[in-house]
């Protein structure tokens, strides 16, 4: 039963071994130091800037950075709305899939631009290859936006007193071409060689052993899956996501995809240490995140390996763990590990059915997204963590008898205001969304019966999960929600598409704007040199403080909701 554990440890160790040097590389990229790929990529970047007429050397302040970021996203949103709604007659549609209706297109467009990849459609029937390619492009670009925003914050943290925080276009292009693209090429090739399809041909037809003919969807999946993980996007090419054999053919690809989805968020921390020459700070942050990650992972893996006691009582062997909703080629342990990894970072790709995990495993998945900063998404994970650091610095700064300061900059009312709003946003969106859905369902259960496949606390978890996943820009589904897959048009679909779309939108951009604004304001402040009275932010003690702040704000606010969902279910099973 515990033979699966070495595989899990291997995935984690491999991640760290690869993330440290890759982080140094990312640090070099944003420090504009020479790297080995320059000979190839410098001409490419220059060509792009020449064609677009953008001057990559123009220095921007934090407001200009955010302006560019929002403008780019607006253009992409309009473009994807157009393509998704009209892909029925646009080229590259061998399977003749129809265009999306407006609310589903709205949800999908936002979902991919926001790096969420919540999918209320199924890839096989709901989208054309052109649509898939556009979504794949967004998977690059949205991850690039997150990395570039983090780069702005790194530069702001590094500078002593300045408004000049580099050029957003340049950071963005570098994120895409120098960070995402090289890795994506490597991962896509590995996947293609292991059996993931990479073709523009339409559905294939096979004859099964029983003699029936079967239509098998395929497409340019290998490239799509590579970036879906590297960019912590998580949107599957096929409806079943990485549980589908074409997306995740074997145990080896499972390891590759696992490492691929975590490498950039972890490497970003080391990139920060390299850029700021504060390696200890990056290790402190890595330590806090890792402890949080392990606290969620270890019990989940153990619970899944132990199997479901309810099934055990029926006399069915649980020796391979809780296998309901899991793939045999991957196993319960690796699926459990994946389920936490994909939720702590904002990937949201799944290789098993989260709905079928044990109640407390489901709670851990929810908690991972509620915290949303144990590694977190590409770039944005660090930004979320940054907010908690600011709050922790403020409280602990007071505790040592000094006006709080972070990296030599005083934290005052304005920064506290922004940090409080951002810290508040996530619980607000999740709880309000779930509350509205609960209210509607509870007051008219007959009309909305199709919403929930399960009654009681499990049904509550399904709704809670949907909003948590949207707000964390995660995109995974607990599933079991009756929002249909594009074919069941109705109020139900409309409700989930629109509300989740709005939640995704707010929870994507405000948590980028907030940290960039704080870092930008702090960068403009007077630098205060360190003295023996200064609070050290790279110490273990401060790490504990940050962890406590995260626990109280991010985890405890959801305690009542969790106790009605997974906790009630857990105690109910006893």
């Amino acid at each position: 039963m515990f033979t699966e554990i070495p595989g899990i440890i291997l995935m984690f160790v491999l991640l760290i071994i690869l993330a440290i040097p890759f982080g140094r590389y990312i640090g070099k990229v944003f420090n504009y130091e020479p790297t080995r790929l320059d000979f190839l990529l410098n001409p490419l970047d220059n060509l792009f800037f020449k064609l677009s007429g953008i001057n990559p050397n123009k220095q921007m302040n934090w407001k200009q950075h955010l302006g560019v970021m929002l403008l780019l996203n607006l253009i992409w949103f309009l473009l994807s709305m157009f393509i998704l709604m009209n892909m029925g007659w646009l080229p590259l549609n061998p399977d003749k899939n129809p265009g999306m209706n407006p609310d589903l297109a709205f949800n999908t467009a936002i979902s991919f631009i926001c790096n969420t990849n919540l999918q209320h459609y199924s890839g096989e029937s709901g989208i054309s290859y052109l649509g898939q390619l556009v979504l794949m492009l967004w998977q690059f670009l949205s991850a690039g936006i997150g990395i570039a925003a983090a780069a702005v914050v790194f530069v702001a943290m590094k500078e002593r007193t300045t408004e000049q925080l580099g050029n957003f276009y340049s950071f963005f292009i570098r994120s895409c071409t120098r960070v995402l693209l090289p890795l994506a090429v490597v991962v896509a090739i590995i996947l293609a060689f292991n059996g993931a399809p990479m073709t523009f041909n339409g559905k294939d037809t096979i004859t099964t052993l029983q003699g029936d003919t079967m239509q098998v969807s395929r497409g340019p999946a290998a490239a799509f899956i590579a970036i879906k993980h590297l960019g912590t996007n998580g949107g599957g090419f096929f409806g079943a996501n990485s549980a589908h054999p074409f997306e995740n053919p074997n145990y080896f690809t499972n390891i590759v995809e696992m490492v691929a989805q975590m490498i950039i968020p972890v490497a970003m921390l080391f990139a920060m240490g390299y850029m700021l020459k504060r390696r200890k700070l990056s290790w402190m942050i890595f330590g806090v995140m890792t402890i949080g990650f392990l606290i969620l992972t270890v019990p989940t893996v153990l619970a899944e390996l132990q199997g479901n006691p309810a099934i055990g009582k029926m006399g069915i062997s649980q020796s391979s763990g809780n296998m309901e909703g899991k793939e045999v080629r991957i196993g319960s342990g690796a699926s459990a590990y994946w389920s936490i990894a994909t939720t702590v970072i904002s990937t949201g790709s799944v290789n098993a059915m989260h709905d079928s995990f044990m109640p407390l495993s489901g709670m851990n998945q929810l908690l991972a997204m509620m915290v949303n900063c144990f590694y977190g998404g590409c770039g944005v994970g660090f930004l979320n963590f940054y907010i908690f650091v600011i709050i922790a610095v403020f409280i602990s700064g007071l505790m040592v008898g000094r006006t709080p300061e972070f990296l030599g900059k005083k934290i005052e009312a304005k920064e506290m205001k922004i940090a409080s709003i951002i810290a508040l946003l996530h619980p607000f969106l999740i709880l309000t969304g779930t509350a509205l859905a609960s209210y509607i369902y509870a007051h008219n259960p007959a009309a909305y019966a199709a919403w929930l496949n399960n009654p009681g606390s499990h049904g509550f978890s399904e709704m809670l999960y949907e909003y948590t996943s949207s707000s964390a820009n995660n995109g995974s589904g607990f599933e079991g929600l009756g929002y249909g897959n594009g074919s069941s048009v109705g109020d139900n679909t409309l409700w989930w598409n629109i509300t989740c779309g709005v939640v995704m939108l707010l929870s994507r951009f405000l948590p980028i704007i907030g940290p960039v604004a704080i870092a930008g304001i702090l960068a403009g402040k007077k630098f205060i040199p360190e003295s023996p009275g200064t609070l050290k932010t790279d110490s273990a003690t401060f790490g504990i403080m940050v962890f406590a702040v995260i626990f109280i704000i991010a985890a405890l606010s959801f305690f009542p909701a969790l106790s009605l969902g997974p906790i009630a279910e857990y105690f109910g099973m006893k």
Binding site: S396, F460, P532, S563, F571
Partner: protein, 678 residues
């Protein structure tokens, strides 16, 4: 001054209790968002009670709801009481200073009808800025002012507690007099420098009183954070209603409001303003008048401390420690000459020479002797005896001039000795007789006992100390090293101080200094914390942001600690308050849902008796923790200079971990009592 260290004096408590009710006024309470939401909760509960009394059945018993309402009201009153008692203590302290000067008769000098000027007795309250009054021996000085004519010895014990009289005179840096102090001898004319009701003390009293108290930047930032927490918990509680609907669990309004009030940081919210006022009050108890609460806070952040050598690091004045005669001169002869030359020298240095010489001065024949006073030109003093002997003593180069001009040789050995004395931090005084060098007297600064430890303490706090002195660099360096200061400014002119402050500020540091003279005023204004001595000139007092009534140069060290204590008290109580939430969640959340989801009994880890008793216990704990922490808020958390990381570890352990554990115990204990009725 009477320094009462008792926290709760009867009179003050009475006043504070009355004020606690006055402060229930929503307009006043609105300034404190956390407690304001509690007030709204209380109002809602009151309405619920009325609703039940009118026959509503779904909200539980009237008794239970009434008890919740009353506990919420008490929570509010406790928080108000914390603020009120802090205000009362501050005001009492300031009033005891002010009382001394109220309604004393003043001898105002006015341009009269008969004479050019005549004296009229008026009550002190009628004196305006610019008026001139006269004070003679035995008079109480009616108002703060500046001496424009005369000199007097003054007993300032009413203000400083120090009984030794001080001399104040017109012109110079010791020209200020404080209302309430007493003239012991002589006569002075004083010009009033403040409008009635606008003295520093009046400003301080206003600062302590609620109405004009401005929140400091740090207090505002913390209030924002607390408001943020409050909003999160509003969301948590409001969304519980539909969650409850979904789970078919009706949740009573009392439970909602109890959960909400328990979760929001009422402990720190209720104590926040008390902590700020207590900080100013502690400064006042140290006899420091602050002009703003911000100054106290800034003091905690000080990186660099500029300290005058004399009076701070060394005891007042130099003392003679050694006589070094030139070869061939009998030591006894030299010592006698030294004593002779200093007989008429009334400076402390001169007196110390006579003291050290320890010879029978009455045996000297000084009849018809002429004493030569020290002047800035000659830089020497001495005596011309009737016998024709001329003794001079003075600075090395001054005596060298006299000797060489007379054609004599200045002995090499003495020049050498002079250098040695200087580099040891001493001051050499060369003595000559009839233009021949006799020897050199060594004067040494006496460094205050324990000052080294105090500077060590400051260094551990992260404060850099800088000694400012008029001494030459060699002497300054020696004393700086011996006293353990980090840096020094030698041969300091007023602009040197200013430049040093600016240089430090440019590199981002906060600088504090103390000064008294008018020429200190620009530097006092430039410094982030400028403490003016009360004896100093009006200009200095206006320029600084604190006034030290004791004129004690070491006070800066105390002020830094008061500032640090203030911030720490805020930080630790915030941590404690928020950490409390863990236990409160575990008390109330199971209680909310147990009726419909019995499985959740597993979460009731404290094994509380019933939903009602759990909720009541949590709310009661939440209320009584406020008065229990009032003493801590008023006294401040003890500051220990053990380095920032160690301090954080210590406070996190006490207030963070303590904040998690204490409510578990407290709520359980209260539940064991409450279960008798619910």
């Amino acid at each position: 001054m009477k320094n009462s260290n008792k926290l709760f004096e009867r009179e003050l408590v009475k006043e504070a209790i009355a004020q606690s009710f006055v402060k229930l006024n929503p307009v006043i309470l609105f300034r404190n968002p956390v407690m304001f939401t509690v007030e709204i909760g209380t109002a809602i509960m009151l309405a619920v009670c009325i609703w039940i009394a009118a026959g509503e059945k779904s909200q539980g018993s009237l008794l239970y709801n009434a008890i919740v309402t009353i506990i919420l009201l008490i929570t509010l009153l406790f928080a108000n009481f914390a603020e009120a008692i802090a205000e009362a203590r501050g005001k009492a302290q300031a009033n005891s200073l002010r009382k001394t000067r109220e309604e004393t008769p003043a001898k105002q000098i006015i341009v009269g009808e008969i004479f050019a000027s005549e004296i009229k007795i008026v009550p002190s309250s009628q004196l305006n800025k610019g008026d001139i009054f006269l004070c003679e021996a035995g008079d109480i000085i009616p108002m703060d002012g500046e001496i424009i004519e005369g000199l007097a010895t003054i007993d300032e014990s009413a203000i400083t507690g120090e009984s030794a009289p001080v001399i104040r005179e017109a012109g110079g840096d010791k020209s200020s007099v404080t209302g309430g102090t007493k003239v012991l001898s002589d006569k002075i004319k004083v010009r009033v420098t403040t409008e009635p009701g606008e003295s520093f003390l009046d400003k301080m009293i206003a600062l302590v009183e609620g109405a004009s108290r401005q929140k400091t930047p740090n207090e505002i930032a913390l209030t924002i954070l607390l408001a943020g927490f409050t909003l999160v918990f509003i969301i948590v509680c409001v969304t519980l209603k539909p969650f409850g609907d979904y789970a078919n669990t009706p949740i009573t309004i009392a439970a909602f409001i109890s959960l909400f009030v328990c979760l929001i940081p009422t402990t720190i919210g209720g104590l926040l303003s008390a902590i700020g006022i207590a900080g100013m009050d502690r400064a006042l108890r140290a006899n420091v008048i602050t002009k703003s609460g911000k100054a106290v806070e800034t003091a905690g952040d000080i990186d660099t401390l500029l300290l005058d050598k004399t009076g701070t690091i060394t005891i007042g004045n130099r003392k003679a420690t050694n006589f070094w005669p030139v070869e061939g001169i009998d030591e006894k002869t030299f010592i006698e000459a030294c004593a002779l030359s200093s007989l008429a020298d009334q400076t402390p240095e001169g007196k110390s020479i006579v003291e050290l010489a320890n010879v029978n001065t009455t045996a000297f024949n000084t009849s018809d002797a002429v004493f030569i006073e020290f002047t800035a030109e000659t830089r020497s003093s001495g005596i011309d005896l009737a016998t024709g002997i001329q003794i001079r003593k003075g600075a090395y180069d001054a005596i060298k001039n006299i000797v060489t001009r007379a054609g004599n040789i200045f002995p090499e050995s003495i020049a050498e000795r002079v250098k040695i004395i200087s580099s040891n931090g001493g001051t050499p005084l060369v003595v000559s007789q009839n233009n021949n060098v006799l020897g050199v007297i060594e004067l040494q600064d006496i460094i205050k006992p324990n000052i080294h430890e105090r500077f060590d303490r400051l260094r551990k706090m992260g404060v850099k100390t800088v000694m400012v002195t008029g001494d030459n660099p060699l002497t300054a360096k020696f004393i700086a090293e011996k006293a353990g200061v980090d840096d020094f400014i030698a041969e300091a002119k007023p602009e040197d101080k200013m430049n040093y402050i600016k240089k430090e500020q440019l590199s981002g540091k906060l600088v504090a200094m103390m000064g008294d003279g008018t020429n200190d005023a620009p530097a006092l204004a430039q410094a982030d914390v400028g403490v003016a001595m009360n004896s100093g000139t009006q200009a200095a007092k206006e320029a600084g942001n604190m006034v030290d009534l004791d004129n004690d140069p070491t006070k800066l060290i105390e002020i830094v600690e008061i500032g640090k204590q203030l911030l720490m008290t805020r930080g630790t109580l915030t941590t404690f308050s928020i950490a409390n939430d863990v236990a409160k969640y575990f008390a109330i959340v199971p209680a909310l849902f147990i009726a419909s989801v019995p499985a959740l009994q597993g979460m009731n880890i404290m094994k509380l008796h019933s939903p009602e008793s759990a909720i009541l216990s949590a709310v009661i704990f939440n209320a009584i923790i406020i008065p229990l922490l009032i003493p801590l808020a008023l006294r401040g958390v003890a500051y220990k200079p053990i380095g920032a990381s160690a301090l954080l570890r210590r406070n996190l352990l006490i207030y963070g971990l303590g904040g998690v554990v204490v409510p578990f115990l407290g709520i359980k204990l209260i539940d064991m009592l409450v279960r008798i009725w619910f």
